[in-house]
């Protein structure tokens, strides 16, 4: 059953300078606040000036990340587009809500309403590419991106004729979401250094955002980074035994055992209470693997796992594990990578291979 998909192009816009595929975390940006926001590429390379002024941040970085991945893959014709977004287009939703309040439901501009729809990023990508094929948007907390990945996996299993799928996610920090989640005590209170955050034990996460897309193809190309094998979502694992069983079963399904896994990309977010199960796995399950973190680079958000896929793909292609992401080094070369993410109590496993 050769139903694996090759990662043939990647694109990420994040709080790090990830938009340039020719480099790989050679420079790492540090933040001393509890909020990390995207480093913008030159958007005039992607959109005209009028569009840039009209578009919200999530539309700009979401669509541009997709375009970088498509360009990187050599602009193949796409057979499906699948996007995940936990919160959708927050900034436009907020503007529209505020306008309704301010005008007491009077005359309001439709633009933020139009752009607030959750499928705006995916729809705009289709519009720009004139792609009339399958187009899906998933919005389900920490499983938004994973559901989109599973959509591509189903495409690979369902249709032998289809060749290239664009899969990714986007989420933004908005003024209101940051204010509201601050009131909910979700973020770190004290000033924090993001680069030291995963090592320190504390309460609260650093707010993050970003977009990352991959082009998955049924055939390898000269640009192939590695393979995406499968994804597994684990809803609210009730204890350590449950998550361990799920990890072993997922690997066994692909005729692998733990010893075959070289690198674990762990979704530690720096909040003690949220990280309990992941820490357990890193200490007791992934004992021989090199453990890599990523949320100190992109922050915590519902679709941060797409950043981890970008990171994994880069490691597979360059065969490098940048010092800035290593949490525990067992000197394994990156051939088989398991991403184990958690967003609150939603755990997910994503398997990548060379």
């Amino acid at each position: 059953m050769n139903k694996e998909l090759y990662i043939n192009g990647i694109g990420a816009i994040s709080p790090q300078k990830t938009f340039d595929n020719s480099v790989f975390l050679e420079e790492v940006l540090s933040y001393s606040t509890n909020k990390m926001m995207c480093v913008d590429p030159d958007y005039s390379l992607f959109f005209d000036g009028r569009a840039i002024r009209r578009m919200s941040r999530i539309l700009k970085f979401g669509i541009a990340a997709a375009m970088i991945a498509i360009e990187d893959a050599g602009k193949p014709e796409l057979d499906a587009i699948s996007t995940g977004t936990g919160f959708g287009c927050l900034e436009d939703s907020e503007i529209f809500l505020r306008n309704i309040v301010a005008e007491n439901e009077g005359v309001v501009s439709p633009t933020p309403f139009i752009q607030s729809t959750h499928n705006t990023v995916s729809g705009q990508i289709a519009l720009l590419l004139k792609c009339q094929k399958s187009n899906n948007t998933f919005s389900h907390k920490g499983f938004s991106f994973e559901s989109a990945l599973l959509d591509a996996r189903l495409n690979a299993l369902d249709y032998n004729v289809q060749q290239n799928f664009l899969v990714g996610s986007s989420d933004e920090v908005s003024t209101a979401s940051y204010a509201i989640m601050s009131r909910m005590n979700i973020f770190r209170k004290e000033p924090c250094d993001n680069l030291a955050q995963l090592a320190s034990s504390g309460k609260g996460v650093i707010a993050g955002e970003g977009a990352a897309y991959v082009v998955l193809g049924k055939a390898a190309t000269e640009n192939t980074y590695g393979r995406f094998v499968d994804v597994k979502m684990i809803s609210n694992p009730k204890d350590e035994a449950t998550i361990e069983k799920a990890i072993h079963a997922f690997l066994a399904l692909h005729e692998l055992s733990l010893k075959d896994v070289d690198i674990v990309i762990s979704g530690l977010c720096g909040d003690e209470s949220r990280d309990t199960l992941l820490k357990h796995c890193n200490e007791k399950v992934y004992t021989e693997q090199t453990i890599v973190g990523f949320k100190h680079l992109c922050g915590e958000y519902m679709t941060a796992s797409s950043f981890a896929v970008w990171l994994g793909a880069k490691m597979l292609k360059t065969q490098q594990v940048p010092e800035s992401v290593v949490l525990r080094n067992t000197a394994r070369t990156p051939k088989t990578i398991l991403i184990h993410n958690a967003y609150k109590t939603s755990h997910s496993l994503i398997l990548l291979k060379q």
Binding site: I81, T85, G86, F87, G88, S93, F96, L97, R98, I100, V101, A102, N104, E105, V107, V108, S109, P110, F113, I114, Q115, S116, T117, H118, N119, T120, S122, G123, Q124, A126, L127, L129, K130, C131, Q132, K133, S134, N135, N136, T137, F138, S139, H140, K141, F143, S144, S147, L150, D151, L154, L157, D158, A176, I180, R183, M184, M233, S235, N236, M302
Partner: protein, 401 residues
């Protein structure tokens, strides 16, 4: 041919009724649920008719057995999903790999917009409890947890095609062995956000909507939830009562024309309908009834009608828009209309397109205007088209056809 996926349970709540039998009765009696708005607090209550579920949140919470503070989106979802779950007659059904694939467009917006009244003035104000279930996934999680479903739980948000895409996703998960059965469909509650949004686009009719009528002026919004239970052949083999309807074809396409408008020729609509036929291995002539997307906007009905003419030629099946009864329930419409499609097959009926009077100039056909009974309905095509160019068509077929 890929293995079939069967409809083994149903649940629905809309302005027509609180359950399947209530909806069925209103449809057969040609009773629309569109009226002046009484429940939602909006300045448009007397100006813009809508199809509200005629219950307060308190009443819905009692029906759903959930806290009264729950978002209306989740309450509607729970009531319909529970009916679907209970109607699925498989012993020990939670011992199988079960999924809940839901859909909504604005999540817990009904509470967020109350929160925003205070928050907009002072960001330290507003009850935080009103926004904890703002995201689309929250309603799905609450319902899945209450039903005890864990294997695959997710939410699709592709505007007005959301529930239809949820059913496709569930069917593909079942076909590929990820799930044995799944509850799939969608939910949406009426909100000021959507009323003001659609109103700002000037596509709401201040009278009762008239889909596929030349004098149509726009849509009426509605609310509700609709879910089917989809199951594999393996599960069906264990059921005492065999299902009568299966999901035989589906396709998701994109119009790639405009963020909110359909292409004049309905190219995405055409791709979705022809793709669903191909997937089902059927010809246009095999379709006995089309449950139209038929919102009542000038643009949708024209594009949809032109695409239907191109695909079906002059030999058209019966057609009607049941949004003439339920209003446009957005992410829920694909689920609610899937259930109406199964009723059409089971009972050999075609529900009329209410209030139709004038044939559209650009079309050579009219929708069905009176209730048809005693017809052999083997295959129904159900359309759901939305913002973002999202176009989805589903085909429901009588088992053994």
């Amino acid at each position: 041919m890929p293995s079939a996926v069967y409809i083994v349970g149903r649940g629905v709540i809309s302005a027509l009724g609180d359950d399947l039998s209530g909806n069925r009765q209103s449809l057969l009696q040609s009773q629309a649920g569109i009226k002046a708005i009484t429940r939602l607090n909006t300045r448009y209550s007397e100006m813009l008719p809508a199809a509200e579920v005629p219950h307060t949140n308190e009443a819905l919470a009692a029906m759903a057995d959930m806290p009264v503070t729950t978002t209306r989106t989740a309450l509607l979802s729970m009531i319909a999903a529970k009916e679907a779950f209970d109607s699925f007659q498989l012993p020990d059904k939670l011992n199988y790999r079960a999924g809940f694939i839901s859909a909504n467009t604005v999540g817990g917006m009904d509470k967020t917009e109350d929160f925003m009244k205070e928050f907009a003035v002072d960001t330290t104000k507003g009850k935080l409890h009103d926004v904890i279930h703002h995201d689309c996934g929250a309603a799905t999680e609450l319902v899945a947890e209450k039903l005890g479903i864990t294997e695959v739980v997710t939410t699709i948000s592709t505007a007005c095609s959301s529930a239809a895409n949820a059913m496709i996703y569930a069917a593909r998960l079942i076909r590929n062995g990820y799930l044995d059965w799944a509850i799939a469909g969608g939910t949406d509650a009426l909100s000021r956000f959507t009323i003001n949004g659609f109103n700002s686009l000037m596509i709401l009719d201040n009278e009762l909507c008239r889909p596929f009528d030349d004098t149509r002026k726009g849509l009426n919004l509605g609310e509700g939830a609709g879910y089917v239970v989809l199951a594999s052949e393996k599960i069906v083999a264990q059921l005492a009562q065999q299902p009568t309807v299966k999901l035989s074809g589906f396709a998701n396409a994109n119009d790639a024309f405009h963020q909110t408008a359909s292409s004049p020729e309905g190219r995405g609509n055409f791709d979705a309908m022809s793709g669903a036929l191909a997937e089902a291995g059927l010809q246009p002539a095999d379709i006995d009834y089309i449950n139209l997307h038929g919102t009542g906007t000038a643009n949708n009905d024209s594009s949809e009608g032109i695409a239907i003419s191109r695909l079906f030629g002059k030999d058209l099946p019966y057609l009607s828009s049941t949004k003439t009864y339920t209003g446009h329930t957005l992410a829920a419409c694909g689920g609610i209309e899937a259930i109406y499609s199964t009723l059409a097959i089971e009972e050999g009926v075609v529900f009329p397109n209410l209030r139709f009077q004038h044939q559209m100039k650009e079309l050579e056909f009219e929708p069905q205007i009176c209730l048809l009974e005693g017809k052999e309905i083997r295959h129904v095509l159900s359309n759901s088209f939305g913002f973002g160019g999202n176009c989805t068509s589903l085909i429901f077929s009588k088992v053994n056809e």
